[in-house]
Symmetry: C2
Subunit: 145 residues, 2 copies
Amino acid sequence: MKLSTKGEYGLRAIIDIAENSKNGEYVSISDISTRQKISDRYLEKIIAKLKKSGLVKSSRGVNGGYILGKDPKCINMFDILSVLEDNIDVTECMDIHVFEKCNNHYTCKARKLWVKINEAVENVLKNTTLLDMIKQEIKKGEEIE
Amino acid sequence: MKLSTKGEYGLRAIIDIAENSKNGEYVSISDISTRQKISDRYLEKIIAKLKKSGLVKSSRGVNGGYILGKDPKCINMFDILSVLEDNIDVTECMDIHVFEKCNNHYTCKARKLWVKINEAVENVLKNTTLLDMIKQEIKKGEEIE
DNA sequence: CTATTTCATACTGATTTAGTAGGAATTATA
DNA sequence: TATAATTCCTACTAAATCAGTATGAAATAG
């Protein structure tokens, strides 16, 4: 049930971009790499996926790097992780075509659980935006000031 | 984010045992294997884990096999899968010791999401019993009869 | 022109997965 | 008591996946 480092590092990377391009500045891989302590070569490959999907935009050359492709409140965790992870489902048979070809599909009672898990995870992912991830927590009492 | 075949096959196996030992009969690996279309040699290894944890009990020799170790309404999916899967958490850093040793742990905002996913999954697993899995669905209207 | 950056493709060592193999120990039954 | 059916135990292995490296081309600001 473990996430790959692509998902793990990729989310940290896009959070880093969101937080460090506030004035419209592009955030370079080498900056992300040193802040997040992740190999820059590996980050390149991971961020390429984010780029391809449009979640981030890039600029080449000096002072180049990456900025968000959309407003952080319009990017949710499902968008991000489904781009980064090869498959986000807990089992292959979540794909209806795989399920129908499964030689046990009409007696399988286990699948009920996989469906429930999948729904629970998707619910979290789709209801958490990138903005939710980067905004400061309001500590108890602070809202009175 | 995918489950291993140990978790997948293991749950199918214990469901199979629950359904086929109704009269106190032991269910053999070869029977489970043919019904579930899973290699018997591999099943042996998987069911050994269930045995070791006490979720199933065994009897050797002729007419031997496995029966549940507890009432199916007292076995939940968390019990089963945490025995079958090596780690059920989405990231290593769900383990607090790993988290504290992480060189980014005091700036990491990504972890909030991993915690939410973990809670959502555990919630499903702990609130679904083996009895829930094997009981027949009551179809709409049927409860009136 | 040059330094800095992304972009594209290919390669690789280590680890994990999904089993297989061989045989010992136990037990019901004929 | 012999035999067939079963679990139990340990070791092995081929293939896939993971996590990362390596090389260098293309673009761009100054």
